[in-house]
Amino acid sequence: MTALRVEGVDVTLGSTHALRAVTLDVGAGWTAIVGPNGAGKSTLLRVMAGLLPPDRGRVVLDGTPLTALSSGERATRLAWLAQQGEATGELTVREVVRLGRLARQGLFGAPSAEDEARVEQVMADAECLAWQERRLHELSGGERQRVFLARAIAVDAPLLLLDEPTTHLDPPHQILLAHLLRRQVDSGVTVVSVLHDLSLALLADHLVIVDRGRLCASGSSRDSTLHRVLIEVFGGAIRVERFEQRWIVIPHIDG
């Protein structure tokens, strides 16, 4: 079981304090990071992934500071999905998903039969197996996002960090994503995702609420105290309601 600890992290981007003294423990299950635009959610995820060194503080993965891990070790222990995946070049869907196995094969290694089988499995799970031979630049935004998601899952890392995985996804594929993430969690993977879709975020096990670079609250996504904090950080523009045995968020238009 993977445990990630963020300890007293400060990050300044230009003249903006993107994160201030953020301390957070991420344990087993699915954690959703939410907050208003510019709250520092993606910055926090990039720090967790070791892609952005903090000005102060550190990130510890299973007792080892991220900075003590080599790039190869880190790549096998955590997988990361970008908010806006780039799609230059001439790679096919299969070739992109296969890149998820890079850390396991090594830069100079070749994919094994096991790698190919895994690539095929995750493409099937993310529903992109049917067009595995198409090139990335030929796909729609939603199709491309499913390929990037498959690429991240193909890493088979015990920690999966996803920045806005629902970008460009239509409702059926948002549901597919939720099921996929739940299956990952059931198989022992710790999932952390930044989400704008608050109803989807409430499907996660844990909620982390960030606002203006600070950690406002964290805990169970079913905790009504946390729901009140959520409403507060969004300036009362949302309501959290119970609907068919689950919590949903709706805009509070008359509020």
Partner: protein, 339 residues
Amino acid sequence: MTSNDARRRRVLATGLGLMTVLLLGAGLAAGSEGWSLPALWRTWNDGDALGIVAAIRAPRTLGAWLTGALLGLSGAVAQGLFRNPLADPYLLGSASGASLAVVLVLAASTLGGHAISFATADALARFGLVGAAFVGALLGVMLTLTLARGAQQTTRLLLAGVVVGVVLAALSDLVTSAAPDALRGKQAFMLGSTGFLGWISCAILAAGLVVALPPSWRLARALDALTLGDDTAASLGLPLLQVRVALVGVIALATGVAVSQAGLIAFVGLAAPHLVRRFAPAAHGFSVVASAAAGGVLLLLADVLARVLIAPDEVPVGVLTALLGGSYLIWLLRRGRTP
């Protein structure tokens, strides 16, 4: 890989192989009187003529292919590394850096009043030019990257490349105005020529290709990963700094060796990867090697044309590649396919 993709790659590989063989033959047959296969056949029975073919046409022909291969390779690596289809050695400052370095060596060689040209440069001078061109190419690329503050901002990168090119060309002019005896050698260098390529040049060019091709091919998966963006590539365990340093080194080596032997030959580094992608789009493992082969074929074709178009005179091969490559890019733009 679809069967269609695989078929296109096979067709391209076969076509490049066949064209290389045919153009090598044409290069051996092309002389100052035009080109003639029967004349080539007759040289087998004529010791003197065979000597000319072995000493002049054969190394020139092979050298043209090797120079083109180095330029095609560096172009493919540059376009992949900078995720910029407009990146070629000339736009990144490596060629202008190499040019300035070569001009400095030529000027230093003429300080004693003994002008040297590419035709008369001995083996030692050649090795000196190779070293200078390599260092110049490396410094030119570094200067461009420093001015552009990295390689991610396409516009900034291109502007920095243009600025470095202009400034280094001005410095080069300054050197030749102070040492006018170097002007002739510089002019030959700037026009680009395969006419002076001998067996020593071929050995240097082949060594450059042997050194530059394996790391390019081995790092092809790194180039593939970079197409997904820096952060994603880093999250996949790619040591970005080391990979960039290695690939910039490959670009500088390949360009430096090519321009030190044949001068500035335009557009081969830009056009060869585009042609490969157009006929057989593929991951970098294939496109890097195919671009090298396509660069070889392009420059060999230009070299043969340069020899026969206005025989017994010659069109400078660099002028021909600039005309052909420029026309190709204009054609692409007119078709609405921004390269």
